[in-house]
Subunit: 231 residues, 2 copies
DNA sequence: CTGAATATTTACAAAAGCGTAAATTGCTTA
DNA sequence: TAAGCAATTTACGCTTTTGTAAATATTCAG
């Protein structure tokens, strides 16, 4: 049975592999920075995880997850995102509060719990931040997603997620009137500084390109005209 | 912030205080036995918790919770029982499976989570085992409860809870056809050995007095004749 | 290709939690 | 009251996870 700490290392390795430029490998310093520990500490743990055959590690080399380590890491991510979905949808937590609590809940050991929770939530595909939730087999739907920064003027779309999960960013998102599944229209783009003006529920706001790059959107397709509008 | 281990000591102290003959105090050996550790280990922790002013402890004396320790212990119990209720009612866990998972979930630190969960469950008064759930203020409804062993022949009642939480017992309960809120009738009691015959959904079974002492029942009052029967 | 900056590793050390074995205390009983 | 026994405590040691400081390897710039 893995300790919380060991699980966090697997999760960090997975995150670095996904973020990295396709290299899938990470240096000891990067891993240490990700987990807010000293490189010496990370080094010890990497050797320990190598013993457990969860990480491939060589002295003075880069580290990466083995197939077994990857599987376990994905299971943690699955649990994290399912719990986030539960907190947001069932308990009414706000967007920026779910992460911290899910960091604790993701370490609960019970295969039955995870799968029952998944079922209870209706097998969601994405969490409140728009990140894909791995299914029970560990498969992830890695669709490439477009950001608000890439949308042309006049484009209508809905918010599918965010890339930045810091509380500061999420609170700003909230202030602009955006939320998961919220509809918006790009009304103009300043050629000079790239400021993007958007309309949300009739209210207009200007956001920076930097802000827009962290908003994942789903272009609105006028399928079957209308669709039920709840509320 | 308390560690999982420290929290478990508070819970054990509370349990021993409730179980004990009103003494509220517990010896080092009893505490160690309750937590499956050696007395030497428990001794160390008691000294540590005394430093934190959560436990009153004197060399070669008995230990008990301080007001602060009691408050924290009750909070753990509250979380444990709320999670059990969630697992049972929302996720469809069986009676005998909830305890183990709740042992983990009770240590999640988030005041907001506990209260939102309480609200989500409709502020339940008792958990699936029939034990009272402390409210947000730490108050417990300590109604005295009667067991099946105390019921007279002909008595109709519903199962309100159990005293024994072992999987073996709960599975036996299930086998007899009993479950939480299940209705039953005491059809006869053998004068010789005290065997109690009960009728559950038209099926008769005999149970030992020892078994009956671990079933908490609520006498059935014929209020408003009938009531909806949900299959 | 060499020297300096950077990354990585080793060699301690500390705190938490647990165990073993050997005192020590206190209670009971003869 | 004194012995004996159970409960409790002390003294050490082990493992995990973390840190600091110093050594070592690698890499990159000139």
């Amino acid at each position: 049975m893995l300790s919380f700490t060991e699980e966090n290392y697997l999760k960090a390795l997975l995150k670095l592999a996904w973020e990295g430029d396709g290299s899938e490998e990470a240096g000891t310093n990067d891993i240490a920075r990700e987990l807010n520990v000293k490189p010496a500490t990370a080094n010890d743990m990497l050797k320990k995880l190598k013993e457990k055959k969860l990480v491939s590690y060589k002295r003075y080399g880069k580290s990466s997850l083995t197939a077994a380590g990857r599987r376990l890491g994905i299971e943690i991510v699955r649990k994290h995102r399912l719990w986030e979905t539960f907190l947001f949808e069932k308990l009414g937590f706000s967007w920026d509060e779910v992460h911290e609590v899910a960091e604790q809940l993701e370490h609960i050991k019970s295969a039955k719990l995870v799968n029952k929770l998944d079922q209870f939530l209706g097998y969601p595909a994405v969490d409140p931040h728009g990140d894909a939730i791995p299914n029970a087999k560990g498969e992830i739907n890695l669709q490439q997603r477009k950001t608000l920064a890439e949308q042309a003027v006049g484009m209508r779309c809905t918010v599918a997620g965010v890339k930045d999960n810091t509380a500061a960013f999420l609170q700003y998102v909230d202030k602009v009137g955006l939320a998961i599944n919220q509809q918006l229209t790009v009304t103009s783009v300043q050629p000079y500084d790239g400021l993007i003006e958007i309309e949300v529920d009739g209210k207009r706001s200007s956001v920076s390109p930097q802000f827009a790059e962290n908003i994942i959107v789903q272009p609105l397709v006028n399928k079957a005209a209308g669709g039920r509008s709840k509320k």
